[in-house]
Point group: C2
Chain length 103, copies 2
DNA sequence: TCGCTTCATCGCTTTTTTACGATAAAGGGT
DNA sequence: ACCCTTTATCGTAAAAAAGCGATGAAGCGA
């Protein structure tokens, strides 16, 4: 409402809210949403599988996967010459619960 | 997994998933997350209130509000010379339920 | 009607994101 | 050791988003 005082009251986000926003940003791109859904339906899949399914170059898919990894939504483990990706269930659960109790 | 067939099977997003991604993108910016939270705590507030609270110029806040409006998360009604903003509760509820049942 | 207030939009610049080809790293098979 | 497969990263170009001052529209009060 109207802030008649002259104190510079800020409304900064909490660390959790910032993390949440970061995750939202990661899923706020159609290609990454697709990757996320694909991983939820096809756990333990390989980068190449995503490339086959998406209309994007390998480098681009790799980049999107990095965004999802940095957001904590996905984790990839090196499996021989390939990299096996799957959802980070713990963080995904956290994400859901945060959204559920928002705000 | 491995798709040995040669059918160009695509994994397009559904309309709902696209809408969801659009909403996520809107909240995937710290300033807009702040606006969203502020609106949840201060319903029926005016653009100027947000400007006072955020470290951004009027034009920028207006632009962020438009993004939130376009995503359906917020709605603004003209109230005299001002514009009164509040959360679009219906769409917010839809958003939450979608995330809850994801995927 | 004349200001005053409130806000959205326009025009512009700067920054960030997206996308891709080319290159490099790294394991597995022969 | 050599090649083949699978990926990540680098460099770069194009597109999108963020941010702001200036301008204009629109209501309210005197």
């Amino acid at each position: 409402m109207n802030n008649t005082t002259h104190e510079p009251k800020t409304y900064d986000l909490t660390a959790d809210e910032e993390r949440l926003s970061h995750m939202m940003k990661a899923l706020g791109h159609p290609a990454r949403m697709q990757i996320f859904r694909y991983l939820s339906e096809n756990p333990q899949c390989i980068t190449g599988d995503l490339v086959d399914v998406l209309p994007l170059a390998k480098a681009t898919v790799s980049q999107h996967l990095k965004v999802l990894r940095d957001a904590g939504l996905v984790c990839g483990t090196i499996e021989g010459p390939a990299t096996c990706y799957c959802l980070d269930c713990g963080n995904v659960a956290w994400f859901k619960s945060q959204v559920g109790s928002m705000f």
